[in-house]
Symmetry: none
Subunit: 206 residues, 4 copies
DNA sequence: CATGAATGAGGGTTCATTCAT
DNA sequence: AATGAATGAACCCTCATTCAT
C-alpha cells in the first residue's frame, strides 16, 4: 500500500529501514535500551554504523521510530475492532481476543510495549513518552466510548466508563505479563475467555 | 524503634545510608537507572563519591538495596492485611485500600516498583530481578490463597484463584498508574471503592 | 618486507599500531606500568583514547603485546646466532656480541626486558608472565644445548650445561645493567670481549 | 642493642614500626608495590590506617623505609664477610655462601631486592632509587677492592676488578633468581660451590 | 551514497591521604 | 595518641556520534 508509486531506490530504502528497525527491536527487547549499542544494532542489521545514522538521527530517534511504528500498528488493529458495528459485549470480547492476537507472534514488541506504557522506560529522554501516551490515551478513550454506548443501552452498569476502560486494560495487561513471563504455563489466548468473563461479570448490568 | 541499642555512630551511619538511598530513589525514579551516575547520587546526597562506595559496593548493589528495602516494606504491609482474620470481602477491600496507602506519599517508589515488577527493567544485570520477583510472587500467592478461602466459603465464584489474584493486581496497578500520571485527576484512594466494586462484582458468587 | 601485499589502509593501521607501541614503550620504560595511564599513552602517540582501545583491548593487552613483540625480536636474533654451524667458542662469543647489539639502540626495551625476566614485575596480572618466561626459558635451553655440544667435544668442562647457561646469562645481564645505568662509563659492547674471556676461561676445558 | 636506653613507650613504638614493616614486606613481596593498598597493610599489621600514617608520611616513605632497612642488613652482613682478614679465595667463597644465607630464610626480601636492584621498580617515584643504588655500589666497590688484593697477590688474573665484581654479582644473582623461581629444583646453597668454581676458574691466575 | 576509523565526553570505581573524635 | 570515616583526584574503559574516503 505505502509502497505504491515509489521508485526502486525508495523501496529499497524502506526495506533497509525495516531491517534496521527489526534488528533494533530484537536487541532492545532482549537487553533493554541502555544495554544495546548502536554498533550492535548496525551489525545485527548488517549495515555500517554510518548508514544507520543516515536513517536515524541518533539512538533516541531510532528508538522512538521503532516504538511509534509498533504503537501505530497496535493502535490501528485494536481501533479497528472497537469501531465495528454491533453488540457491545461482542465487541469487548473481540477486543480482548484481538489484543492477544496482536502480540501472539511478537513477544519482542510486547516487552517494549510494557517498558513504555508502564512508564518504566523513564523518559529515555522525555518527549518520546508523550507521543506514545497520546496514542495510548486515544485508544483508552475509544474503549471508554464503546463502554459508554453499553451503558446507554443498559447493558453495562452505570460506572465511570473511563475507569472501566482502565480496569479492562489493567486486567488484560496483567495476563499478557503472565504470559510473557512464562508462555508455557499461562496462555493469554486460552485465558481470554476467563478474562472477559471476569471483567464483564464485574461491569454488566444485571 | 530500630534505632534502639545503637551507638551514636551506628545511628549516624543509618541516617547516612537513608540519605543516600533517598537521593538515589529520587534520581532513579526521575531518570531511570542508566541515566543516573554515581557521582550524581553522591552529589544529591551531599557525600563524596568514595563515601557512597563505602556504603554500597557498587551501583548495582545500591540499586538492589533500594529496591529490596522498599519491596520488603510494601510486602510486609500488604502481607499483614492479607493475613488478618475475618470476612474475605472485607480483607479484599482492605487490601485495595492498603495498596493505596503504601504508595500514597511515595510516588518515586511507585515508579520504581512498576519498573521492576513489570519486568521492564530488563534485568539491570540479572540476579536482582529474581529476588524481587520472588517477593512479588509470594504476595500473589498469598492473595490467591485468600481468594481460595472465599471460594471455599462460596462467597466467590469458582474461578482459578491465581488468575483472580492476577486480575486484581492488574486492576489496582492500572489505577495506580493513572494516579501516577496525573495525581490531580485520578485519585487512587478516592477510587479504591470503585475498583473494589468492579472487581468484587466480577468474582463474587451470586 | 612485512608490508607486502597489504592495502594502504592495512599498512596505515600497522603504522598506527607501531606508533602506539612506541609511545607505550617510552612511557612504560620511563615510569613503569602502573605509573602510566592509558590517556597518557594515547596523548603521547597522538591518538584519541578510543582509538587506542580499538587497537588494544585494554591496558594489559597493550602491555603484553609490547613485551611479546620485543621478546620475539630478541629471541629470534639470539636464537639465530645459537643455531649457526661452527666452533662452539665462536658461537658463544658471537652470542655475547649479539646480545649487545640487540639492545644497543633500544635502552627502553632493555629496561622492560629486565622488569619482566627478573620477575620483578610481579605478574602485572598473571598470564603475561608465563608467556615471556617460556620464551626466555626456551633461549636458555638452546644456550644450554650449545654448551652441551662444547662439552661433548671436550672443549668445555663437564659442568651442568643448564647452570653454565644461567651463569652466562647472569654475567651478560649484569654488564647490560651496568651499561643501562651509566652508558657513558660502561659500554657493554666494548666489554663484550672481557665478559667472554672471563666466562670462557671459567668453563673451558684445559 | 638499639633498644638500650629507651623508654617503654619508645620501645613499643619501635615494635609497632617493625610490625608494620613486616606486614608491608609480606604484601609488597607477594603482589608488588602498586597492587598493595595502604589499607591492606594497616589491616595485616593490625593497626588503624591513621596509625600507619603516623609512622610513615606516605606510601612511598613506607616503601623506602622498608627497602633501606633490609638493604642495610644485607649490606652489613656481606660487608662483614668481605672485611675479614685472610685468603682472598676463602673470602670469596665465604661471600658467595653468605649471600645464600642472607636470603635463605627471607624470600620476600629477595623478591624486593631484585625488584629494586634490577631497576625494575621503575623509580617508584625516584629519589629512592639513588639511596639503594649507593648502598649497592658501595658493596660492589668493597668486593672490587677484595678482588684487587687478589690481583696484587697474583692469585687472580689482572682484569678490571670492578668488572670482575660485576660478573660475580651477575652470576650469584642469576642463581638466586633460579632458586627464587623454583626453590625445589635449584638450591642456591647446594650450587654455591659450582658458582664459586666457575667464577674462580674464570678469574684465577694459572 | 555507504562506510567504518577516529573521536572524546562521561561513567563506574579505587585508594592515598586527612582530620575530627 | 590512636582511630577510621570521609574525601575526591585519577584511573580504566565504553559508546554515541562524526566525517574523510
Amino acid at each position: 500500500m505505502q509502497n505504491k508509486n515509489l521508485t526502486r531506490r525508495e523501496r529499497e530504502k524502506l526495506r533497509y529501514r525495516r531491517q534496521m528497525l527489526a534488528a533494533a527491536l530484537e536487541l532492545f527487547s532482549e537487553k533493554g535500551y541502555h544495554n544495546v549499542s548502536m554498533h550492535e544494532i548496525a551489525k545485527r542489521a548488517e549495515f555500517a554504523i554510518g548508514t544507520l545514522y543516515k536513517f536515524f538521527k541518533n539512538k533516541e530517534h531510532l528508538y522512538k521510530a521503532l516504538i511509534m511504528e509498533k504503537a501505530a500498528e497496535y493502535h490501528h488493529t485494536l481501533s479497528g475492532v472497537l469501531s465495528r458495528e454491533g453488540d457491545v459485549l461482542t465487541i469487548l470480547k473481540d477486543y480482548i481476543s484481538a489484543k492477544a492476537g496482536v502480540f501472539a507472534d511478537d513477544v519482542a514488541t510486547l516487552r517494549l510495549y510494557f517498558a513504555e506504557t508502564r512508564g518504566a522506560s523513564f523518559n529515555i529522554k522525555s518527549g518520546l513518552d508523550q507521543d506514545i501516551r497520546n496514542l495510548y490515551d486515544e485508544l483508552i478513550e475509544q474503549l471508554a466510548s464503546t463502554l459508554k454506548k453499553g451503558i446507554r443501552k443498559n447493558m453495562l452498569r452505570d460506572l465511570n466508563p473511563y475507569y472501566m476502560a482502565v480496569a479492562l486494560e489493567g486486567i488484560t495487561n496483567a495476563f499478557l505479563l503472565c504470559w510473557l513471563e512464562d508462555p508455557e504455563r499461562h496462555s493469554y489466548e486460552a485465558n481470554a475467555p476467563v478474562i472477559g468473563d471476569m471483567f464483564l461479570k464485574g461491569v454488566m448490568a444485571e
